[in-house]
């Protein structure tokens, strides 16, 4: 499949589609692309490969980038498209997820039946603990929550990246957060 931006944006004529400013800004997003790639791959080496593939495609397709639009969102779209292509290429290696079962599980209410303001604070959750909980989410939910709550993209931008309808994106964010809530509360002592 193609790069979304390259499909939907008319190719601009003439030279000068990509200048030093484009390169500098694109490269300034390497940390957040890498962090996100870590959530999309199994190993740091795979994440690095994915980021490099993203930049290769981005520099090559720079002429199709619409100046004035969000370069970071465009790079993230390329990243996710590349990750999907890889997943397809390596379908034999991927672990099939029973997505319906996952979605059913996610439908359940926060556990405990005793949801009080105290249990909702969760302020003593440590960064690594939260990171581990995020990484343990089913892939679709993890991506949506990560892009929204950590990378702070809009629903529409996330929909483009994940190639999913807006309603699906919102529902994945919702279910991802509820799963996280359950998970983090189960880690707490009963009387926390």
């Amino acid at each position: 499949m193609g790069i979304r931006g390259a499909k939907t944006t008319p190719k601009r004529q003439g030279p000068g589609g990509r200048g030093p400013a484009f390169d500098v800004e694109a490269l300034s997003h390497v940390d957040s692309l890498y962090r996100t790639a870590r959530r999309l791959t199994r190993t740091p080496a795979d994440a690095e490969d994915l980021v490099q593939e993203t930049y290769l495609k981005a520099f090559r397709a720079a002429d199709s980038f619409e100046p004035g639009t969000n370069l970071r969102a465009w790079l993230f779209t390329i990243l996710h498209n590349s990750a999907r292509n890889r997943a397809r290429d390596r379908a034999r290696d991927t672990v099939a997820v029973d997505s319906e079962a996952v979605e059913r599980a996610a439908q359940t209410q926060p556990a405990g039946g005793n949801v009080t303001p105290e249990t909702l604070l969760m302020r003593d959750t440590l960064g690594p603990e939260l990171q581990a909980a995020i990484d343990a989410l089913p892939e679709n939910f993890r991506q949506a929550v990560w892009l929204r709550d950590v990378e702070e993209f809009s629903y529409a931008e996330i929909a483009t990246m994940l190639d999913a309808p807006l309603g699906t994106v919102m529902s994945r964010i919702s279910r991802g957060r509820r799963l996280l809530f359950d998970h983090l509360n189960h880690l707490k002592p009963v009387n926390a």
């Binding site: 490099q52 292509n85 949801v115 969760m122 809530f181």
Partner: protein, 269 residues
């Protein structure tokens, strides 16, 4: 456990996330507020999402601690620079590719000049069902991709290492041509290619600095494959020895590619 027993919960549920994110219009926001005042189940949902959303917001600094390695930064920076320096070879090849379905699969040839040889496992599509020209095109795509990636990674292997991996990976006791430097050839590094379904050996050289790929397909894929053809701006020379099919690819003159093929062919079986 709270139940969604109030009428209207089903219509409130999709509003919970945008409500928590402050993305609802005033009227819808008011509907959610009024509902959760009388519905503990939906209040619990809103509270749970709010708690997580706030926790994430407060933990953002920690979640963003992970950084790209300096090596990755360097590689990506080199990529930007390499694309500029590769401008002479880019337009023609890439414009050709951009017209077809190749555009998303191919990466441009963006190379540092440090490489010298690659033996890699490459995956190619079901070759038996395809024409020699399509096979050559697939392999040319792998050729470009592998060299671009190797340029980034700076891998490097000795002849003995390459021969060892050909023996263990393909049961092929290959003897790489002696004295490649006499022909202006230098051996490079190794990197697995990601495309396709079949496994092929991919040996990479530089010829006077320019990338040359030699593919070995372990089963005879093409009858009468002895030919040289032009694909994607490259020349591809093909031949078969026993069960093995060889394809040598470079962006050089046809006569030069055929000369290199003859040289390689004398040693490799």
């Amino acid at each position: 456990m709270p139940e969604s027993s109030f009428p209207g919960c089903a219509s409130i549920d999709p509003l919970v996330t945008p409500y928590v994110d402050g993305e609802l219009a005033a009227a819808e926001r008011q509907i959610v507020r009024a509902h959760v005042q009388v519905c503990p189940a939906c209040l619990a949902r809103v509270s749970a999402e709010q708690a997580v959303q706030r926790l994430m917001a407060e933990s953002k600094a920690s979640l963003r601690e992970e950084q790209a390695s300096s090596a990755l930064r360097t590689k990506c920076g080199a990529l930007a620079a390499g694309m500029e320096h590769g401008a002479d070879i880019r337009p023609r090849v890439l414009d050709t590719l951009a017209r077809g379905t190749w555009r998303a699969r191919l990466v441009p040839l963006a190379l540092a000049a440090t490489l010298v040889l690659i033996a890699a496992s490459a995956f190619i599509y079901q070759l038996t069902a395809r024409s020699p020209r399509l096979m050559a095109a697939e392999l040319t795509a792998d050729h470009m991709k592998c060299f671009a990636m190797n340029g980034l990674l700076g891998t490097h292997q000795a002849a003995a290492t390459v021969e060892g991996s050909l023996a263990s990976g393909f049961g092929w006791q290959a003897h790489l041509p002696d004295g490649p430097d006499r022909e202006g050839l230098a051996l490079v590094g190794s990197r697995p290619c990601l495309y396709g379904e079949g496994r092929v050996a991919h040996i990479m050289y530089r010829h006077n600095g320019r990338p040359v790929s030699l593919f070995m397909l372990p089963r005879k894929q093409m009858p009468n494959a002895d030919a040289t053809m032009r694909v994607l701006g490259h020349e591809a020379a093909m031949w078969s020895v026993g069960d093995r099919t060889f394809v040598l690819i470079a962006r050089e003159a046809k006569s030069e590619v055929e000369h290199l093929a003859t040289f390689v062919r004398a040693s490799l079986h």
